[in-house]
Symmetry: C2
Subunit: 339 residues, 2 copies
């Protein structure tokens, strides 16, 4: 890799051949991503479900045994602490596959404070993502044809060598693909090598989440596009707030169910520099929001961005200015992301 | 800096001129360390003390208003989650100055689970350490003579420009010095420049914690020398376990008050490589512990190290072998660290 970042205290590659080259490859072929930094918070024991019901704004009653749920994680005021994927292994055993924040300790603090009959720990599980339009072909070669039958946000346990992995149809791109929850660090390199060998004629190569692709697709990044200062409603995640249980933060969150700012896709004109801190969004000189991720989109031939915009200015078609470090740029709210 | 590491998701310099040169300078002059990565967990509100009493194995009843306490932080089984310094700002307001782990979320989880009347957050406070034998002289020039009167692990609020900082006599070296809790990021550079200008004739320069110096002095590193698998007793921190309160983990911790392994200073003969993962400690081929930090000591002209050793082999004078990646090395348990 040529560029990397730090995510959950681990190295995450962020560029291989080049941003645009990586992006085009992801959209045409298949990539294998080392996303071991998506750590798991394992929750197991008699009180596992009781603990999850305390922290999940999302109704878990209908969650199937092979299902994964995108779940806003909040504090008692409804502020977002993480946006993990919850994986149900058994009625009393779950993995919370976390984005970049310290969520394990939050869950542990609750379990300890309430003396719950549950164990909370970080298991030796490191996700490897297979993403891109040729993902099904590659996975079928390594894991068998049944990989193709995995439904969106569902998983199967598929054999590899002398073990098996949870393999879900999910991942941090809109190109389709899988996340393999590699349990046992010793299987990481053999699996990597097997995928690379099996996919040579598919053009497989190492990759990583693409900022260009994820902004086009409207995939949010915790710590960048949303923080503890934001509610799920502000992040457009209101549909995942439907638990009938008395979870922590329910009152605080529901009191904020009519947001005064919200995530929006924003198209920016002109040349823009790399974004290293939020850019103010203004109307007539008044700050009405901020852009948190912005990049050139080769396919849409425009600058695509994710911003948080005040209610009075968030309607599609609204003209704005984005204050970049190299000057103001004309911008407009889009009605949807670039997908 | 020429080498850096990641600590609490921030960049921490780890070498400037060279390990040995940095070490000799620290022991002779004065250095300014950017240890902003020692983040603060602020706890404020009516229930602040109640919350601290729930998480502290150390008795806080006699803590003075200007005092700092080294405090083992544990989970309900007595496993170490962090080894912060607790700073008392007021009866209802504390900072927990954390080592490298996600302790904020643990504290927040407890506060949220028990609906406590307390706010838990990360304030804009970034410690700057002034360490070395000439620290008092430098600090007196920038903060006035009263800096000299600060006692060990006590603090004063000292003026700088239009504000004041908590300035404590503490720090991650045995050379003496201070930690300035810089509140307000905008003061960081002016303070840095003021210290550099005032100390030119004292030989002041940028520095960072020195592995050579801290191993000589027996200062432990959370995440390296101790983890959640260890109790404070195993880490030689039993004297800080004296709270009469019914804190979380009290039963679990006291059940483990007779450790079967403990931190020891270990002298290693011969040449050793840089340590990047724990080295097994053996006696007659049987593993009886591990070395977690090891380095050459220029002043003591030997390899100094920190290890966790089983009870049957932890007595001073015990001969051991340390299995380094380049071969076994003869080693011996010392009766005390190199101070």
């Amino acid at each position: 890799m040529s560029v990397c970042t730090v995510y959950n205290r681990m190295i995450l590659p962020s560029v291989f051949a080049g941003q645009e080259e990586d992006y085009k490859h992801l959209k045409s072929h298949v990539q294998v991503w080392d996303v071991a930094c998506e750590r798991q918070v394992a929750v197991q024991g008699r009180d596992a479900r009781r603990l999850l019901d305390l922290i999940s704004p999302r109704d878990l009653d209908k969650m199937a045994d092979d299902q994964c749920y995108y779940m806003p994680a909040i504090d008692r005021d409804g502020g977002m602490l993480n946006d993990p994927v919850l994986v149900k292994l058994a009625e009393d055993h779950f993995w919370i596959s976390v984005a970049d924040s310290d969520y394990l300790h939050y869950v542990l603090g609750i379990a300890d404070a309430l003396s719950m009959d549950v164990r909370v720990w970080e298991p030796d599980v490191s996700p490897l993502a297979v993403q891109g339009p040729k993902s099904d072909d590659l996975m079928a070669r390594v894991f068998g044809e049944e990989a193709r039958a995995i439904k969106f946000f569902r998983y199967k346990r598929l054999a590899f060598q002398d073990t098996n992995f949870v393999v879900a149809r999910s991942g941090y791109s809109k190109q389709g693909g899988f996340e393999i929850y590699v349990e046992g660090g010793q299987y990481g390199m053999p699996l990597w090598d097997a995928l690379m060998a099996a996919g040579a004629d598919l053009g497989v190569r190492a990759g990583c989440p693409s900022t260009m692709e994820r902004v086009e697709g409207g995939l949010l990044s915790y710590g960048n596009d949303m923080t503890r200062d934001n509610t799920p409603f502000e992040c457009g995640l209101g549909k995942f707030v439907n638990s009938p249980k008395d979870y922590i933060g329910k009152a605080g969150l529901l009191a904020r169910s009519e947001p005064i700012q919200q995530i929006r896709p924003i198209e920016i004109s002109g040349d823009i520099p790399p974004i290293t801190a939020a850019w103010p969004v203004t109307v007539g000189g008044k700050v009405v929001g901020q852009v948190t991720t912005a990049t050139w989109s080769p396919d849409f031939k425009t600058n695509v961005s994710i911003g948080m915009v005040d209610k009075d200015h968030w309607d599609a078609g609204t003209a704005l200015e984005v204050q970049t470090p190299i000057g103001p740029r004309a911008a407009v709210i889009k009605d949807k992301f670039w997908i």
